[in-house]
Amino acid sequence: MVDHAQNRQTTGVPKIIVKDLMILYGNKTILRDVNLEIKENEIFGIIGPANSGKTSLLRALNRMDDMTAGMKVTGDIIFSGKRLQAWKNLYALRQRIGVVFPLPVGLPLSVFDNVALSPRLRGIRNQADLQVIVERCLRRAALWDEVKDRLHSLGSLLSGGQQQRLTIARALSQEPELLLLDEFSIAVDPVTTMRIEDVLKELRHELTIVLVTNLVQQARRLADRTAFFLKGECVEINETEKIFTRQAKDPRTMDYVEGRFG
């Protein structure tokens, strides 16, 4: 953990600023009074028990509230210096943000088309270019070796772990500036998890990563800073090291990290 601090290469420029965020489903409040800043090229960890509003935060960051019946977001989210609410072309916004949700979704297209879909939507038609992109993304998601001989079989029929990595490859194919990962390792074996974690460490040179995880040790391994969410509230945001070395500000964070609940 000592070299962790030396590893930090964040530019210090805020990529995302969240101000007084509140998220409602119908009239049920899922998340309230969230204020946080995520810096460019940072890996920002979010930990917390189930139903603490972590996933809803990610949905709001990707402006998916627009596509979700009953979901309402108030407060401000500023992404790359611009308020999310002010975006005229939400699709262009979402293209710049890659998302990986815990339930892996292999689209019912070929493995190749799964990964080539986003580039195609951006207007890349050249087959050779697409091949390069697909191979690179699949390699980075640690899936290439397993699927390179069956790129034309259905992505939706891969195993759960493979679909999860396919989802990651698809997110990477967007060439995102921001990558939102929601418990990505839930369906993946430990060895593959480690390989993907290595990829994430590399990726942080190019983009900003928000990592929601149920594995506190994963946050410890990867995140520069970590936020602890509990029952719809952001309890604490702190240097990851402090949270894991008994220097957390809030006793509840300490309790959670040390496994006393959650």
Partner: protein, 315 residues
């Protein structure tokens, strides 16, 4: 190298088009607009039907329509030289008696079939029965009418030793056979919509299959079953060709199932071709159409409300 080139070219293009509404954005808007037209076309058509049949029948409604005669007199004599009358009572009774008879025959059987298919039958048997029922529902009404005319008619004449076999009995059976597959299908859907956990809970308490069906499944599905019957009634009420061909088509207040009757729908089908456009008779037929439209609208609305009751969690 190549990889980096693509990436940087790609990124440059995106920075340039940071937050601009592009082709894809406008295309999505266009499609949204086009499919919206498709969506509201259903409303336009249902309103259009009402407006156009009313506009053709309005003259009669305003000048000649007499509510007491229309609903009270059995004399439908639009072609009478000296004194035409437009009493629809016999036609309404004709439609009601055929539909009623059809329901009498087909409701028990369709619900029975629905129960068997949903609760008893399994695997291949179930699939086969479902397919057969679906195929029955596909037979066109004019073919049903022909069956009534050429197969049921001689059969009824022989069986009951009566001069004419085109009557309530004939049309009712034909209509029953027509409506049954539809009712059975909807009723089966309603039964299948009852969660298996209900059945399992009852079975865990030691209930037999029939006890589960009669005490759990049927009460839970009652709205859906009612909607099935209502839609069957609506179908019977609006059926035209089969009823025209099998009912005997004589204006008559029936006293027994062996009497010939005439239905509202059949009257329009039989007479519209022989009237001059815009004549009183022609407008009167459109008035029958308005009446049919309103009644079926109410039946369908009721069925819809009943079904909505299911979705609101009444099961």
């Amino acid at each position: 190298m190549i990889m980096n080139n693509i990436t940087s070219a790609d990124n440059n293009r995106r920075r340039a088009s940071a937050d601009r509404r592009n082709m894809d954005w406008y295309l999505d808007l266009l499609v949204r607009f086009l499919v919206f037209i498709g969506g509201i076309s259903a409303i336009i058509f249902i309103l259009g039907i009402f407006v156009f049949i009313t506009s053709q029948g309005i003259g009669f409604l305003l000048d000649r329509f007499d509510i007491a005669e229309f609903f009270g007199s059995p004399l439908w004599r639009p072609t009478s030289e000296e004194h035409p009358t437009y009493g629809a009572l016999a036609l309404i009774v004709g439609t009601a008696s055929i539909t009623g008879f059809a329901m009498l025959v087909s409701v028990p059987f369709s619900l029975g079939a629905a129960i068997y298919i949903a609760e008893f039958a399994q695997g291949k048997v179930r699939e086969t029965l479902k397919v057969l029922v679906e195929l029955l529902a596909a037979i066109p009404s004019v073919v049903w009418g022909f069956i009534g005319l050429s197969i049921m008619n001689p059969f009824i004449i022989k069986l009951f030793n009566i001069p004419v076999g085109l009557n309530i009995l004939n049309a009712g059976i034909i209509l029953g056979l027509m409506a049954a597959p539809i009712m059975a299908t909807i009723a089966e859907d309603a039964l299948k919509a009852v969660p298996d956990t209900y059945r399992e809970a009852a079975e865990a308490m030691g209930a037999t299959r029939w006890q589960v069906i009669s005490r759990v499944t049927l009460p839970s599905a009652k709205n859906g079953l009612m909607a099935a019957v209502l839609l069957g009634v609506g179908r019977g009420f609006g059926e035209t060709m089969a009823v025209l061909m099998a009912s005997g088509h004589s204006v008559n207040l029936p006293t027994s199932p062996f009497d010939s009757v005439r239905a509202l729908t059949a009257t329009i089908a039989a007479e519209l071709g022989e009237t001059a456009q815009g004549s009183e008779h022609y407008q009167a037929l459109f008035t029958l159409g308005i009446f049919l439209f309103i009644v079926t609208f109410i039946i369908n609305l009721t069925a819809d409300i009943v079904v909505r009751g299911i979705r609101k969690g009444n099961i």
